[in-house]
Symmetry: C2
Subunit: 364 residues, 2 copies
């Protein structure tokens, strides 16, 4: 473990200067303080005195609303605090920007503020600190992000693959075979993961994977407006969305176009935000239990603080079936018959007797 | 939640008979007691009185030695107890057999013994209780097994993919390109996972995936004896093993054949058993931190007991480099040159100047 001496030696300054830098004294230059802190981080120096004074954690949050119960981050923070505060931790919620990250190295920020560890929400792959997370020695838990090999970093999230498997199985049972995906752009770890989970689920159950069934875009309502008509033209009868917010915007878009949900199109969201129970119709969605995710975030941090080399915690992602999914539209019933047969095969069940269905097919 | 009444009604017997069955009274038949317990499990009845009397957990263990520190299960159990016992739990270690599972349903066993939850070690996919785990309502944590969708089950294990990625990268840097795998049979979840992790790692780094480089077998020394000469004939210069025990048996086998480790063949194990630091040569291996795995097993159980729907916890699997891996043998140096180039490409680094190497190639 590095000492104040090591820092002084490396910078060629006195121990008292280093001590001033580490303790925010005012009689050294800002430039020197920055050098001292950066060197302290580089050498793995831990400011025991500061850390003992106060048990402090931070939640760094970006690209995510968290002020009201209907917003995604609210319960994540609540669950984390429910675990951390009874154990004597002060938890600061710190909204973050790329600009701030560019100007302040992560390790220096953590040391300057006296944080022992951080829970990181909503970062994209482009965030400058993602590079620093590769090598940081500050215990850091990423929600919906993953950093390989660094034993000071862990991840928590929901099992996207399990969620999409359940969603695709549910739609197949309703006769759907042409199932689309509308998602945000693939510039985040989690959206990439959901994209692959969609592809895997479609392949696993023997459904056609077709680029024409996929729509990606940054702006929620614009991409809904562009992609829904295109997917419908390609014969898509059900759409998975990367987030509830996008699925809810699709409900509005469909209502504007006189498309009935679920009679004309089935829709499944991702998140189970509180409001999804009250949309028209109530939304079928994949649940992220955010209180539990927050709790697991805290648990993962305590593991890292205690040198238990946890890499990831995944929660279950159950499907909450409400009213936005229904049987495939009747005019696609030939597809439906084919689907029923392939469902039985794909889901590993004996096919139901087909005589009745064959008859109705012949009668057409 | 089902009551004694519900059980009595379903079986058409009196409440007092049900009560006798649940409390191990001696004045009812064994057959009736079994019926009562099975119905209690089926209806989701929880015997509150029994559970309040004593906080009891069990560790069910099969196919795994655990009596001495050098055996795999020892530290798993130790880590679990280190967390559970200070919180007032009694932890029973229960060796398990397939025969016992065939005769006693899991739920009945748990209820009869008064266990609130179980940590399950070493089960194969063929174990009868694996079927019951699909639907059980007893909180159950599986080490190195996975059960999808059941919110009462969670998994803990090490990240095999990260481990094999590190192992293959390490061998590539030493010039190896023909890397083999010797593993137990694919009748367990974890051996399947490691098999796929090996294939993925080879593909990811642009190395040839070849069935001839893989050897599977149940009996450790027999399969080592059969597969090592075969893999060497195919030009393999390094072998990954699914367990340290197999890698250690390979050290003996190679010594018998006057093959030098690592000069003639590089060997990597999996587990980091204590003895691997003292083999001749000391074994390079992928670490499973068993104390931490045991601790995470307990944490996952407490999550399930508190309705936090955890699905899986994966620990880091770092590579511990010792002396059983070395540069590719000189007679394979052509391969080595090619490898160096493809390593740079695969690992995403600019290729080192090749002039010196080309010269030595020409000189041959």
């Amino acid at each position: 473990m590095a000492t104040i001496n090591d820092i002084a030696e490396k910078l060629g300054v006195s121990k008292s200067t280093v001590s001033k830098g580490l303790n925010n004294a005012t009689d050294i230059s800002e430039e020197m303080r920055k050098k001292i802190l950066e060197t302290a981080v580089e050498l793995g120096y831990t400011n025991k005195r500061l850390q003992k004074k106060e048990k402090k954690l931070c939640i760094l949050i970006e690209n995510m609303d968290f002020e009201t119960p209907n917003q995604f981050g609210y319960e994540l923070i609540l669950g984390f605090k429910q675990m951390a505060e009874p154990e004597g931790w002060v938890v600061d919620v710190v909204p973050m920007t790329m600009e701030f990250q560019r100007l302040n190295p992560y390790g220096v920020f953590m040391m300057q503020q006296g944080y022992q560890a951080a829970f990181v929400l909503g970062f994209s792959l482009l965030d400058p600190w993602m590079q620093e997370f590769r090598t940081t020695r500050f215990p850091t838990v990423l929600y919906d992000n993953y950093m390989k090999e660094n034993p000071h970093i862990a991840s928590v999230g929901c099992d996207s693959q399990e969620g999409f498997d359940l969603a695709v199985k549910h739609l197949m049972r309703l006769g759907h075979t042409k199932i689309g995906l509308i998602s945000g752009p693939l510039d985040s770890y989690i959206l990439k993961a959901r994209y692959h989970a969609y592809i895997n689920a479609m392949s696993k159950y023997g459904l056609e994977v077709n680029e024409d069934y996929i729509g990606l875009g940054y702006y929620v309502s614009e991409s809904t407006r562009t992609h829904i008509p295109r997917l419908l033209e390609k014969g898509v009868t059900a759409i998975l969305f990367s987030h509830d917010v996008r699925a809810i915007s699709a409900l509005t878009e469909c209502s504007d176009r006189d498309l009935r949900i679920p009679e004309d199109l089935s829709i499944i969201g991702f998140d189970d935000l509180p409001m999804t129970a009250y949309t028209d119709p109530p939304l079928t969605t994949i649940r992220q239990d955010r209180i539990s995710l927050g709790k697991c975030g805290y648990y993962a941090l305590t593991c890292l603080l205690n040198k238990v080399p946890i890499g990831s915690i995944l929660l279950r992602a159950p499907l909450i079936v409400r009213k936005s999914t229904g049987p495939v539209p009747p005019e696609k019933s030939v597809l439906k018959i084919k689907a029923s047969e392939s469902i039985s095969a794909a889901l590993g069940k004996p096919s139901a007797p087909t005589s009745k269905r064959s008859k109705s097919k012949t009668a057409k």
